[in-house]
């Protein structure tokens, strides 16, 4: 919403400075977005006479001018403008002036050997329009020595406010003035608006053709004819104001409607009465109807749009934009002025669908003052008669002005309760009344009737807002929020929240970089990871690559790693801790921690190095990340199983599944499947893990934080080595499990210290060497006992895995 200072002062009697007004506007919620004060910016530019303009001795295209800038002292200026000539009046800028059109500051210069002290300016150089034809050529009556901006009427600062959608009443300069007046910065000018007494009935009949349930689309439609008008340009003062706020003057009749749209927040429409055939019908558009609107574009309408039609068809899109065919131009002699009320939601819907942004739509979709529809029509009529002559008819009314009946029961204490500030009842009362609220009753509770222009005020909280925003939120002293009386015993975070945070720290500690990638990915990628189902597809993705909610964090990291590789960083270790989606229900959302290593980005380091080059990443690297994560999270891993194989996106022979029993899979790790890489057009060696944090077992709840007693045996442990030959596909875990099972208590640790295939081992078999640690508890083991245990281990492993002891 834009307006000029002088326009505001039409409605507000005030001595306040521009700065004070601007500050007040922002303080009461009408945030000033910007102030354009051309007069201030152009203060050094003065009107000057060119005394002489001689050819420059050293340049064909330049002239050496002597200029009188008002003090009678000729100043020498070198000028390149073709229109510079002796006797003309133009605009002069002395050295030291900033030139907005050129973004330079002038200095005394020497141009081709001739000194130049300043500059004669074009409109473009002043930042006014884009005429580059030459310097400004002012009429003879322009007073030499005065500021150009003042003479040219540019000294009316333009203020732009950022209007919040609830404040329809301030889409009107009068409304803004009322808000300002409530702060005491000035007085609202209330000129009486006596009704216009027209001659005779308006000859154009109006029909509201709506079904009963559609009546709300147009509660009121008022129309008046003014006969015998002369429609030319509107007066200069009106044009100047319209131009200042960015509107193009058209002709007096149209300008009046635009003027009142801003002046009073009352959009109006004018029809050329001679172009209207028969009566006007307000109705829903028929499917397929169209209109060439005033912006010259053709709009196809549907039955959702409300239109004003005559015998020729649609003439105007209600509350949004009129049509070209019945518009007013210089030939108009009889004008129909329309002032109506429309359903804000219908206007918004139609405006959005048609893509029309107009000042009328802006106001109607926020809600105009219903009580001002008829006074607005009268005000417009008076302006038409004043500026264009003619004689008005009476107004035709279809529908009626809606009644106001929304009274709020308001205890004054509500202000203290919600805002925490003590204001005097007198101050609160004055504020509400100056904003137009009607207060009845006295004492602690009063009845408050909001004014017709404040449909946004619904209840007590709204009245509190009105009072404190005019009082100023800065008057509310901050008061501490009472602190809890005890120290928090329970953690502020849930287990999952803590695990999410810890997971990030743990993975970053393994040299990985935390990525945050988009929650939506390309459908093709989603499908490769078990997603891409219709319940997780966006109806309106912002781009094709952002179409489906991600089923896994892996595809996003894969894309990110490839992008980094394309930029010249092939060895990257990335991780993300974030949400994944299995369905559109809250339960379908899970929190996962996922790591991806590419190229040689191993935990120990990447790339070539004097101490030995890093090898390509592999499944074990991913497994190490996954297990380190589980350890860092303090997940009880007693029941953790690692099973060969994983989902389709992993290499079938180089992947594993992490599970607490077959029904409780918590994650996967491994090398990426070559077919997946091909499908996603990815290159390089890639290994990843993904763990669903929600699925991990919770820490055991124990009644005490004390750790179990530490028992240190006095006796030395002994170690025995065994090398087993087993078929290649026997998992090491089976050997370890069998060995452990041989002697549950005595065996306190088993390591796999060698793995061998090749000479000396049968084809298709491997040798797995383990070191078993035996920890006697009560007495030293005898050789015979140790032999017995060893035999038991060999027997057990052989039985469970078919192993033979390596010869």
């Amino acid at each position: 919403m834009k307006f000029t200072l002088s326009w505001l002062k039409d409605h507000l009697e005030t001595e306040a400075s521009l700065d004070a007004i601007a500050e007040t506007l922002t303080r009461i919620g009408l945030e000033v977005e910007g102030i354009e004060d051309k007069a201030a910016a152009l203060r050094p530019y003065v009107i000057a006479r060119v005394i002489s303009a001689e050819q420059h001795p050293n340049a064909d295209r330049l002239r050496v001018c002597q200029v009188d800038a008002g003090d009678g002292q000729p100043l020498q200026v070198v000028c390149g403008a073709p229109n510079a000539r002796a006797g003309m009046l133009s605009v002069f800028a002395p050295p030291g002036t900033y030139v907005p059109g050129k973004a330079i500051t002038l200095s005394v210069g020497t141009i081709r050997g001739v000194e130049s002290r300043g500059m004669l300016c074009s409109g473009a150089e002043l930042g006014l329009g884009d005429d580059h034809d030459g310097i400004l050529d002012l009429p003879a009556e322009a007073p030499v020595g005065t500021a150009y901006a003042v003479w040219a009427g540019l000294d009316d600062p333009v203020i732009e406010i950022n209007l919040t959608p609830n404040r329809a009443d301030c889409a009107s300069i009068h409304g803004i003035a009322r808000d300002l007046a409530a702060t005491g910065i000035g007085t609202l000018k209330r000129e009486p608006l006596p009704p216009v007494r027209g001659e005779g009935a308006c000859p154009t009949p109006v029909t509201l053709a709506f079904d009963e349930h559609d009546k709300g689309l147009c509660p009121l439609f008022a129309l008046r004819l003014v006969r015998g008008v002369t429609n030319g340009p509107s007066p200069e003062w009106m044009q100047k104001r319209l131009r200042a706020i960015g509107l193009r003057p058209i002709n007096a009749l149209v300008d009046i409607t635009n003027y009142l749209t801003f002046d009073r927040g009352r959009p109006l429409h004018v029809f050329d009465a001679r172009k209207v055939a028969g009566g006007l019908t307000v109705r829903r558009a028929e499917e397929g109807e169209s209109l060439v609107a005033l912006d010259g574009k053709t709009y196809r309408l549907d039955s959702d749009a409300v239109v004003i039609a005559d015998d020729n068809g649609v003439e105007s899109i209600a509350g949004i934009m009129g049509g070209q065919a019945s518009g007013c131009d210089e030939t108009t002699t009889d004008v129909l002025i329309e002032s109506a009320l429309w359903d804000p939601r219908a206007i918004a819907r139609t405006g959005r669908r048609l893509g029309i942004v107009s000042d009328a739509r802006y106001r109607f979709e926020r809600g105009v003052d219903p009580a001002f529809a008829l006074p607005g029509l009268d005000l417009a009529t008076r302006l038409v008669v004043d500026l264009c002559g003619g004689s008005p008819s009476q107004a035709t009314l279809a529908g009626e002005v809606p009644e106001l009946s929304h009274v709020i029961d308001f205890p004054w204490t509500e202000v203290r309760r919600l805002a925490g500030i003590e204001l005097s009842r007198a101050e609160m009362k004055v504020t509400l009344e100056s904003l137009g609220f009607h207060i009845s009753g006295s004492g602690d509770r009063v009845k408050v009737l909001p004014p017709s222009w404040r449909a946004d005020v619904e209840g007590k909280a709204d009245l509190v807002e009105e009072i404190v925003r005019i009082a100023g939120l800065d008057r509310i002293e901050p008061k501490p929020l009472p602190r809890a009386e005890t120290v928090a015993v329970e953690p502020m975070l849930t287990v999952l929240q803590r695990r999410g945070r810890l997971a990030k720290r743990a993975l970053a500690s393994r040299g990985m970089l935390e990525a945050v990638t988009y929650s939506f990915i390309a459908q093709a990628d989603a499908k490769l990871f078990g997603g891409g189902t219709s319940d997780l597809a966006l109806a309106n993705p912002i781009a094709a690559d952002f179409s489906d909610m991600r089923p896994s964090l892996v595809p996003g990291l894969l894309r990110a790693a490839q992008a980094n590789a394309d930029r010249g960083f092939p060895d990257t270790a990335l991780f993300e801790v974030g949400q994944c989606f299995a369905s559109d229900e809250p339960e379908g959302q899970s929190l996962r921690a996922t790591g991806l290593r590419r190229g040689t980005a191993r935990h120990g380091g990447a790339g070539r190095h004097w101490s030995g080059a890093a090898e390509a990443v592999d499944a074990f690297e991913a497994k190490a990340d996954a297990l380190a994560l589980l350890a860092a999270l303090g997940v009880p891993t007693g029941g953790l199983q690692i099973v060969a194989g994983g989902p389709d996106w992993l290499h079938p022979g180089r992947s594993g599944t992490l599970q607490f029993g077959p029904k409780n899979v918590v994650g996967h790790f491994g090398e990426l499947h070559p077919r997946l890489l091909k499908a996603m057009d990815l290159k390089g060696t890639l290994a990843a893990f993904e763990i669903t944090l929600d699925s991990l077992p919770l820490p055991r709840h124990r009644p005490t934080k004390a750790k179990p007693a530490l028992v240190l045996p006095d006796l030395q442990a002994i170690s025995r080595d065994f090398a087993f030959v087993v078929p290649r596909d026997v998992p090491a875990a089976d050997i370890l499990k069998a060995a452990q099972g041989a002697e549950r208590k005595l065996i306190t640790g088993i390591e796999v210290f060698d793995l061998y295939e090749g000479t000396g081992i049968p084809e298709g078999a491997k040798s797995v060497a383990i070191a078993v640690r035996l920890q006697p508890a009560e007495r030293t083991l005898t050789d015979a006992e140790i032999e017995a245990v060893s035999a038991k281990i060999v027997a057990e492993v052989s039985k469970k895995t078919g192993a033979t002891l390596r010869a």
Binding site: R27, T164, L473, I476, P478, P480, G511, E514, F520, N540
Partner: protein, 359 residues
């Protein structure tokens, strides 16, 4: 040979011994079972007591001195050998090592800033609440007092999922505010929570990405008011931006879910392109807030005449940009390793109020 000559001879040989082996040979030759000194010692047995009294100390003395000389020589040889080894054992300590994993790793600024925010609000007694990214229209809009036909409910502002077989369509939450309603419905006041999370809007340019992060705060009890809200936000901004004092400006504004509503600006300077808080003349908008709208309290199952409270919301990514100086929002989600290394945080830099938010 007399004892003196023998001693001179032995000590001379020991002195000249060049290595451990020849020294050992000398030891055996002198002190071994058949050694020259051992042989002399053997003669003591056959002597008369008088002879023994005279010769005993001489021979034993000889033995002790030879023994001592061998020990000393052995020590000297060991030292010399070590010196020789040490002078041969040299490494180039200037050779660069691989960077340690815990030095290479980085935490994303969004994670770091969420932890900073959480640390501050936890101190004020706020816990953390979360909700799903895929929301219902009811929780994202209706329960938050957005009227039917509000522009935010349109396809050009909000991401919708495809409608189900009943025509119901879910959406990606446009703000974290649905968690307010979920929290109110799940428990009774007093409520003090912050709600960080991902949010989505149909928007993309230098300062807008279709996905971003918000944190929302909610306090509901029997007395929380705007004065408390101002105090909480001022305390937060001082702690977050780590400055002694901040000047804040509360401007009345409009949000469907709060009444009264305000936007908050923080005073700053932009000298030399560097943003600083607690000084300067510029204003920077950082958050929106207000008293929870009575209709929202009702949506949450609460009586607006019995309880009251305030809510506030701010952009986490934006806070990160303001504090840590990233000029552009889009790279936050591009996982460019150069950006992550530059703007990310070390894994050991855990923000806390005890140790400081930043190192």
């Amino acid at each position: 040979m007399d004892l003196d000559a023998l001693e001179r001879d032995l000590l001379g040989q020991i002195e000249r011994a060049g290595d451990e082996a020849s020294l050992e040979a000398l030891r055996v030759a002198a002190l071994g079972k058949k050694g020259s000194v051992s042989e002399l010692l053997k003669t003591l047995g056959a002597m008369t007591p008088d002879e023994r009294r005279e010769r005993g100390p001489l021979i034993n003395g000889l033995r002790d001195r030879v023994q001592g000389a061998i020990l000393a020589k052995r020590e000297a040889l060991t030292e010399a050998a070590l010196d020789a080894r040490l002078s041969a054992e040299r490494i180039d300590v200037t050779l660069p090592l691989r960077e340690a994993p815990e030095v290479r790793g980085r935490i994303h600024p969004i994670s770091q800033v969420i932890e900073e925010i959480t640390a501050i609000f936890a101190d004020l007694g706020f816990s953390v609440a979360e909700g799903p990214d895929i929301e219902t229209d009811e929780l994202n809009f209706t329960a938050l007092n957005f009227p039917e036909g509000h522009p935010a409910r349109e396809m050009h502002d909000t991401f919708f999922l495809r409608p189900d077989h009943l025509g119901r369509r879910k959406l990606l939450r446009t703000h974290t505010s649905p968690v307010q309603v979920r929290t109110m419905r799940a428990g009774q006041p007093p409520i003090r929570v912050i709600m960080p999370g991902r949010t989505y809007r149909h928007d993309s340019d230098q300062t807008h990405t279709p996905m971003f992060h918000q944190v929302e705060g909610l306090v509901i009890d029997r007395s929380a008011n705007i004065a408390n809200l101002k105090w909480v936000l001022e305390s937060f901004c001082r702690a977050f931006f780590e400055v002694e004092a901040v000047t804040m400006r509360f401007r009345p504004s409009f949000f469907p879910f709060t009444e009264p509503s305000a936007e908050v600006d923080i005073q700053c300077s932009r000298k030399g392109g560097e943003l600083r808080f607690g000084e300067g003349k510029d204003w920077l908008e950082i958050l929106g807030c207000g008293m929870v709208h009575p209709n929202v309290l009702r949506s949450g199952g609460l009586d607006p005449d019995q309880v009251q409270g305030f809510a506030f919301g701010m952009g986490i990514d934006r806070l990160a940009m303001l504090k840590y100086g990233m000029p552009d929002l889009r790279p936050f989600f591009e996982a460019d390793v150069r950006w992550l290394e530059h703007y990310g945080f070390r894994p050991i830099d855990v923000p806390s109020l005890v140790g400081g938010l930043t190192a």
